[in-house]
């Protein structure tokens, strides 16, 4: 007597019972796979943010010192524009301990013709930049010419396409790899292009003039501190030397994000554990009820020569098959939900969100299916033991 065909027939003979057990296991797999992918994506997003920021300190005008809104620009891609004298970058280099100072200029576009919403335009100086340039170099082999732009991965503009910003035609020359941060929705250009765009914005009534009336403006300076210097000391020196400028330590920004991430991770993990415990208890109860229902069936099998071990194995195999079906179904459903609605999840969480590599995801999926099989088999172990010890005579006499 072969166990596998018999187990499959048993499962097919009771479609309602099988469906209920598969559904329960699918629920387990869905919670584990979905929760794990979200947590891993948040962690990958945080690592990406750390790598992407690259700088130790960011100088912004005091008026923009609302660090929260500055943080939102990175995390959620909200637009913002604030300006200070372009000389700040050179002055910062005079502070002991400052190795590099890369200026950036921000401009929030009007409703761009591509998107119906504002997009953040960031002007960089390719010669001085050390934060965005390495990322651009991965996608763009040549130089970024005047009126050329590099778009974040979430701006759906193909290479060679023309996008209009303040009625200026800008050519897309490259698209950046995903970072999971708000920078994915930004558009990058060089400082000459930015000057043209600022002038065009001025003509449209969007002023970027600072109190001194100077036209040469920047929005932020990214500072790299020399090795051996204490970042906090340099931070204090910068704040002391530069007037109307606030120095923000990137570490404090990342720590804030990291704390939020830890909170979300804890909540998701706790929910997953609770779902697992509840589902395991329900599975245990379901298999206990199955024992009562199938006592006569197993008694007959014993009478026609099936050994105890064989009956135990058969019961375990049936539950493992339910676990396999449920694991695959639950993982598949979770994958559809998590991957299809990734943009929605990202915007709801408001945290850097970047999927881990395909290898990690496949491993996670395989692990979830194996875990579903194991839990299903474990929940049925007691039932399998009871069923394998059925006394045929007694069971059939009692009519159970």
């Amino acid at each position: 007597m072969k166990i596998l065909p018999l187990s499959l027939k048993n499962l097919a003979r009771k479609p309602g019972r099988t469906a209920a057990l598969v559904l329960l296991t699918a629920f387990l797999a869905l919670a584990v796979f979905g929760g794990s992918v979200v947590i891993l994506s948040l962690r990958t997003g945080l690592q990406s943010l750390e790598a992407r920021l690259g700088a130790d300190i960011i100088l912004v005008p005091s008026e923009a010192q609302s660090k929260v809104s500055f943080q939102n620009m990175f995390l959620q891609g909200t637009t913002g524009a604030f300006y200070m004298d372009a000389a700040v970058a050179d002055k910062a280099l005079e502070v002991p301990g400052v190795e590099k100072a890369a200026p950036q200029t921000f401009l929030a576009s009007l409703k761009a013709d591509c998107c119906s919403i504002k997009i953040q335009v960031i002007g960089i100086d390719p010669a001085k930049d050390f934060t965005v340039q390495p990322w651009i170099a991965r996608s763009l082999t040549g130089d970024m010419g005047d009126m050329d732009v590099v778009v974040g991965c979430k701006v759906e503009a193909g290479i060679g396409e023309i996008i209009r910003i303040y009625e200026q035609r800008c050519k897309v020359v490259a698209q950046l790899e995903p970072t999971g941060t708000g920078l994915d929705t930004a558009v990058y250009c060089n400082m000459h292009t930015m000057d043209t765009l600022l002038a065009a914005a001025e003509a449209k009534g969007v002023s970027h003039k600072i109190a001194s009336g100077d036209d040469s403006v920047i929005s932020a300076v990214y500072i790299k501190v020399k090795d051996g210097y204490d970042i906090d000391t340099v931070n204090t020196a910068l704040t002391g030397k530069l007037r109307k400028v606030t120095a923000v330590r990137t570490r404090s920004m990342i720590t804030g994000v990291s704390d939020s991430l830890a909170g979300v991770s804890r909540t998701v993990s706790a929910m997953t554990v609770v779902i697992w415990i509840l589902a395991f208890i329900i599975l245990l109860l379901a298999y206990t009820l199955v024992v009562r229902e199938r006592t006569r069936e197993f008694a007959v099998l014993r009478l026609i020569g099936a050994s105890r071990g064989m009956l135990g194995r058969m019961a375990l195999l049936e539950s493992a098959l339910c676990g396999l079906g449920g694991g695959i179904a639950g993982t598949g459903l979770a994958a559809i939900g998590v991957f299809s609605f990734s943009a929605l999840i990202e915007s709801s969480l408001g945290l850097p969100y970047l999927f881990p590599g395909i290898g990690t995801i496949l491993l996670l999926a395989a692990g979830t299916v194996l875990l579903s099989i194991a839990v299903s088999a474990l929940a049925s172990a007691f039932a399998a033991r009871r069923l394998s010890r059925v006394q045929p005579g007694t069971a059939l006499r009692e009519g159970n």
Binding site: S116, C153, K154, V155, E156, S340, A343, L344, E346
Partner: protein, 133 residues
């Protein structure tokens, strides 16, 4: 015979969700200035396809003789529905926008489910027809 009409009811429910969703919570981006983008027209096309699917599904429940053909028509309509947002009618160019983050994936899933249900219906009809023959 009962087996043949269950997929019809399933497609009908999904088609209703598509029709209602495409103009409400699963709909296009809402612009503050009242203008409409390409995604607005994509949602109108989805509404039409949803209504077409619901009529086909009802006909499949009511008309015994034409079920196989109706189910096949529903499969093709579902493929059209999957292709409509993003491929046949463009959407906004920022993937974080509502039409790309919600409308497109939700409609793809709903149309795929409707297409699968219709395919099941077609297979059931084909098998029963073959058995009768």
């Amino acid at each position: 015979m009962k087996k043949q009409i269950i997929p019809g009811y399933a497609v009908f429910v999904l088609a209703l969700a598509i029709s209602v969703g495409s103009v409400s919570f699963l709909g296009p981006c809402v612009h503050e200035d009242g203008t409409v983008g390409a995604c607005h027209w994509a949602s109108r096309a989805l509404l039409g396809l949803g209504m077409l699917l619901s009529v086909l599904a009802m006909l499949a429940v009511l008309l015994r003789g034409a079920r196989l053909g109706l189910y096949l028509a529903m499969c093709l309509s579902s493929i059209l529905g999957i292709l409509t947002p993003g491929t046949l009618i463009s959407l906004c160019k920022m993937s974080s926008m509502h039409c790309r983050a919600v409308m497109q994936p939700a409609m793809t899933i709903l149309f795929a489910a409707a297409g699968l249900a219709a395919l099941c219906g077609a297979v059931i009809c084909f098998r029963e027809k073959k058995e009768r023959a």
